[in-house]
Amino acid sequence: MKTKSKSLNALKVLLAISWWGTIATTVLIVVLAPLAVSSPGDYVNYLKGYGQIVDSNLTAMTREGLPVAVEFEDNLLVKLVLPAEHWEANRGLVALAFGVFLAMMGAVLWFMHQLRQIVRSVEVGDPFISENANRLRVMGLLIIFGSLAKSVSDFALSGYADVVVKPVGFSLNGHLHGDFFSLVIGLSVLVLSEVLRVGAAMRQEQDLTI
């Protein structure tokens, strides 16, 4: 029993740190964003695209001195550092990226809020309630839609990078690639939420058996 409360306390502390850390980071970026838009710094002057290196001079040898063919797989993450002038001329895009960032942080905070509420119900000693099933469902949907949104935004960003730059020695491709692992986790959380919903209903029935 003592071990249980210790692990719960550790979880609470970790969640509190993540929660307040995320809020502090968001506030800090909101405060710093106007400065960044007026004068792009290192943190906004690059684009990320998914590319494929088609002409590489990179080589490798085995420890025995035999030549090794170096190839890069598809969907290689490429960071393109653009000159500040580009962002000066495209402030609307920086503002759009800022909006997407805020929406993303909102989703992260919403997810963490659900987790904190679940931990609170565990602390009270009554976690098998339908509210927690709803919370798990929200978390599962956030994981799935967050993963899909990331795939689409990466795709769009890669497409934009391809419009903005003329790649030499590599190509920027527009492959839409989903995060299968996140989708599986999201689906698992949805299944668990339904299990908890049925469990909560069974417990309520048990409680109301006189």
């Binding site: 309520q204 029935e205 109301l208 058996t209 006189i210």
Partner: protein, 68 residues
């Protein structure tokens, strides 16, 4: 719910209070109240037996089916 618990009527007819019934049956006031107000989802045979014994009635006097 089509099944209605007629505990209150039976208690009134015999002049037994909820507290007294609770003590004699061995159920908590809260649980008896859930039963009386029709919020219970199920009733154990042992509970029914104890109430019938105290109120000197039949299970059919306590539970009635009412078509909605």
């Amino acid at each position: 719910m089509p099944i209605r618990v007629r505990l209150e009527e039976q208690m009134k007819a015999r002049g037994v209070s909820l507290t007294e019934l609770s003590e004699r049956v061995g159920l908590t006031l809260a649980n008896l109240s859930i039963l009386k107000t029709g919020k219970a989802k199920a009733v154990r045979f042992s509970t029914l037996e104890a109430i019938c014994e105290v109120l000197q009635c039949q299970p059919g006097d306590l539970l009635v089916f009412e078509d909605e």
